[in-house]
């Protein structure tokens, strides 16, 4: 049975769609709102802003996060900034331009109506955050400061030092805590969602595990909202927080929510390379470094000389050579792929050979060390703290790392998944970034969904559906609780020979190798075989210590890694079926004669929404065709 993928985009001129949709929505009477419970899972920018706003509107909200406090969600780590089409600099920015840039940057694989709405709402987000007391950078006259970011030709990025994500999240967290204080939101920290409960085809609640006592609990509601972030940790090493996981969206997928474009993942070119087998995560450095640094590797493979002993004539500035007009400033995906290619040729640098130089010596000579310190001082300090090397004297070493996942649960214009009553917001959904996300737009999407879209659309759903009374004593909850407890028991009973982390690391290596920066059909076939074999071994040979009824971090990880195994398989299936290259998805078979991504708009201009058929069954492919009325698909070129 295939799913009906109705995007429910209203008809009309694009700039009026959201107004029209809002007018057509049914409202819940203020007196009735408190009778409706809404569950929000996740407390990052999307989850916290949604929970706070739903609380303000008068709903009875329950908000869940696995961390010890909602303030720790991984949105907090975003550095660069947040885009808004304010045009405060009169430099030609507009809602339409932000919309255009985002659709094009996404390589024409996103839904135009959603992206346009995002660009419109970007204006409200900044106003809201300023009013909350987010300390954005200011000009001397007291107005908001902006910078251009990620190669944009206009200055539309608002920022709070290098901690924009932290400040925006604290704003949303404080709004959330205000509702906790008002008694409108009940907060459940250290509580992990382990199943979605669907009754008569509607999402009616979740089953959770209390991470301190191990208690399995049921929570019933009229609607469930997932704002649980991306799945970059499927690669083990990523710039995500260690706890970031796919469990909430994966278990919803297994209950019937379609998963869209799982193979669209983003790799960031400027991360600190892996230094040893113990490495637990990768650290991102702002890509602004590429404004002044020059990227190179030795001309000869396996050249072991220190960088300062390699003469100019024996260096390969490969981005400048291949892309004379953009040079080191090519987009993230292009820079990353080229770095991998030279390392694959054996020309990578550092102990592991997985790194390229990012050299500031020319910039220091031309501009002086003081100018460079002023521009990048904090980044240089961070690099030195981690690597113990002084980038003012020796070139930095960088390597690409997984950073963001554009894929996620499929949602319609109202952010509702294929399960009625299940809404998905922020990085957890697939909606706005197509095959590649532009810088400073993740924060924008999280807050747009949470503050300004979801609170309307949840109300419309509740008003339109006469939902019968369901509480946690319903048989479906008992069934889910039993399934969750059974899985926990099974993991603890295996008592094998390898740790959860060692399996996760091996899984990550497979996905990185075959479904990372570039992919090809035989590689993806190999990956599918290896992932299945390793998953089988996992379920017979993993060891999880401790018990189910107390704080057990190995057990938490074990459940998450079990889900990553299944998701990894779906990513490879999706990457294998998409016989084209677009954005972050580069299939080696589909490239232009000069090695650039070759889209196939005739055959692949659609969203691939996969439907679960059973753990060992091939998932079913559903397609939502994409139409471009306002931004016409073109080939990206950076030569």
């Amino acid at each position: 049975m295939s799913l009906p993928l109705h995007s429910r985009v209203p008809h009309g001129p694009i700039e009026r769609l959201w107004d029209q949709a809002r007018f057509e929505m049914k409202l819940v009477s203020p007196a009735n709102k408190r009778k409706h419970t809404v569950i929000v899972v996740g407390s990052g920018l999307a989850g916290a802003s949604a929970a706070a706003t739903l609380g303000e509107l008068g709903y009875n909200v329950k908000c869940f996060c696995f961390q010890d406090s909602p303030r720790r969600a991984h949105s907090i780590a975003a550095q660069g900034g947040i885009n808004a089409a304010k045009n405060y600099h009169s430099d030609g920015d507009s809602v339409f331009r932000l919309f255009y840039d985002t659709v094009k940057g996404g390589d024409f694989r996103s839904r135009e109506a959603n992206v346009y709405r995002l660009a419109q709402i970007s204006l409200n987000i900044i106003d809201q955050c300023v009013a909350q007391g987010v300390p954005f950078a200011r000009e001397y006259g007291g107005t908001l400061a902006n910078r251009s970011f990620g190669g944009a030709q206009v200055s539309r990025t608002f920022y709070a030092r290098g901690q924009t994500g932290q400040q925006l999240l604290l704003g949303a967290y404080q709004a959330l805590e205000r509702q906790v204080d008002a008694g409108r939101v009940s907060m459940f920290p250290r509580t992990e969602m382990l199943d979605l409960v669907v009754v008569d085809g509607h999402a009616r609640g979740i089953v959770t595990r209390d991470l301190v006592t191990g208690r399995i609990e049921s929570h019933a509601a009229d609607a469930v909202v997932l704002g649980t972030g991306g799945y970059g940790n499927v690669y083990y090493l990523s710039t995500n927080a260690k706890g970031s996981n796919c469990t909430a969206i994966w278990r919803a997928y297994k209950r019937g929510a379609a998963f869209a474009n799982p193979c669209f993942t983003q790799i960031h070119p400027t991360c600190i390379p892996v230094s040893g087998h113990y490495q637990s995560k990768l650290t991102l450095m702002s890509e602004s470094l590429r404004n002044d640094g020059r990227i190179w590797v030795p001309l000869q493979p396996r050249d072991q000389r220190p960088p300062n002993q390699i003469p100019e004539s024996e260096r390969d500035y490969f981005l400048e050579r291949r892309y004379p007009s953009f040079g080191n400033l090519v987009p993230r995906d292009v820079a990353s792929r080229n770095a991998k290619a030279v390392c694959d040729e054996g020309r990578g640098v550092g102990e592991t050979g997985l790194g390229v130089y990012l050299d500031f010596s020319d910039a220091i000579q031309n501009l002086g060390a003081d100018v460079i310190r002023e521009r990048y001082g904090n980044l240089f300090d961070m690099y030195q703290r981690i690597t113990d090397e002084n980038p003012y004297q020796v070139p930095m070493r960088i390597y690409p790392a997984i950073h963001y996942t554009m894929g996620g649960l499929w949602v319609d214009y109202y952010l509702m998944s294929t399960i009625p009553g299940l809404f998905v917001i922020g990085e957890a959904n697939f909606s706005d970034h197509g095959a590649n996300r532009l810088g400073a737009s993740a924060l924008m999407q999280g807050l747009s969904d949470g503050y300004f879209i979801l609170p309307y659309t949840v109300g419309d759903y509740i008003a339109n559906n006469a939902l019968g009374k369901v509480d946690a004593s319903h048989a479906e909850f008992a069934r889910s609780e039993a399934a969750v407890a059974g899985m926990t028991k099974r993991l603890l009973a295996i008592q094998g020979h390898h740790t959860v982390d060692s399996f996760h690391r091996r899984l990550g290596q497979i996905v990185w190798e075959y479904c990372g920066m570039s992919r090809n059909a035989p590689g993806l076939e190999t990956a599918l075989g290896e992932i299945r074999a390793l998953r089988e071994q996992y379920w017979s040979d993993v060891t999880v210590t401790g018990s189910a009824d107390d704080l057990n971090q190995s057990l938490e990880k074990a459940g998450r890694v079990a889900d990553f195994f299944e998701l990894a398989e779906l990513m490879c299936i999706d990457a294998l079926h998409r016989n084209e290259s677009c954005g972050g998805h580069f299939r080696e078979e589909y490239q232009t004669p000069d090695g650039e991504a070759q889209r196939d708009d005739d055959d692949f201009s659609y969203v691939a929404a996969w439907e679960f058929q059973g753990t060992d069954q091939q998932p079913l492919l559903n397609k939502e065709p994409l139409h471009f009325e306002y931004v016409h698909p073109s080939q990206r070129s950076y030569k």
Binding site: V130, R138, E139, R385, I386, D388, T545, L551
Partner: protein, 248 residues
């Protein structure tokens, strides 16, 4: 290099804890403190023992999850650095490190190095915000804020809520944490309408949670990984006293 770890092990909130010695043989100087614990834990798991529980998430010094005492210093010896970014090259080969959880009445130990910091959320919940319902905000540039004020507000807003200030304080005071939020919001024009009410409520809540009083010792400032300054406590005291005076 080789390090000897003496780690606080405590099975649960009610259990008795004790220090347990672990020999870390093959330590890479580039490892972070948390990666060292990962390696020790992998060995423990393979021996069938329970790994050391510790809090962590982003591992880049911003989420505020991690933190414990290393040889009596919150977050260890390196200034302005959380344990997730503290690399082993700052220790001597053969050195003995004592790892203990934050110790404070308001932060009960849950397990090993993990403590319950929900008291911080309750302090924020008691007025650590600006009341502005979604959608009711004026244009961002209609509120002009001198750059210097915005910068000072940002200095205070940089707090990551890790709890090192409480752990380092002999009185287990949360004055630096509470003061940072009161200063951040009180330095901005948007924060003025609720400024006094905020100070009253937040300070009352922090007393209720069992944090001690501030006696201007300054240990908090010395260990704060984000460099929050003692002056935020002065601002808190001023706002609090003014608020009481106004409501006489």
């Amino acid at each position: 290099m080789r390090l000897i770890l003496q780690v606080w092990r405590q099975k649960g909130p009610q259990a008795r804890g004790r220090m347990v010695r672990y020999d870390a043989g093959d330590v890479n100087p580039d490892m972070s403190m948390l990666e060292l614990l990962d390696v020790v834990n992998e060995e423990l798991i393979l021996k069938g023992e329970e790994p050391i529980a510790f809090e962590h998430d982003c591992r880049e010094g911003i989420c505020g999850s991690c933190g414990f005492m290393i040889n009596g210093i919150a977050h260890g010896p390196l200034p302005a650095t959380t344990v997730c970014q503290l690399s082993m090259r700052h220790f001597r080969d053969g050195q003995e490190l004592y790892l203990e959880p934050w110790r404070a009445k308001a932060f009960p130990v849950l397990k090993d190095l993990v403590v319950d910091r929900r008291a911080f959320d309750r302090v924020i919940s008691a007025g650590g915000y600006i009341t502005v319902p979604t959608g009711s905000a004026p244009d961002g540039n209609s509120i002009l804020i001198p750059k210097e004020d915005a910068d000072r507000a940002m200095d205070a807003a940089a707090c990551i809520g890790c709890g090192a200030c409480v752990a380092a304080c002999p009185n287990a005071s949360a004055a630096l944490f509470t003061g940072a939020k009161i200063a951040h919001l009180g330095l901005l024009p948007q924060g003025q309408p609720e400024r006094h009410e905020r100070a009253l409520r937040m300070v009352r809540q922090y007393n209720r949670e069992g944090f001690g009083s501030c006696t201007n010792i300054g240990e908090c400032e010395a260990v704060c990984p984000k460099g929050i300054k003692l002056e935020v406590i002065a601002r808190m005291n001023r706002d609090y006293i003014q608020a009481i005076w106004q409501r006489r």
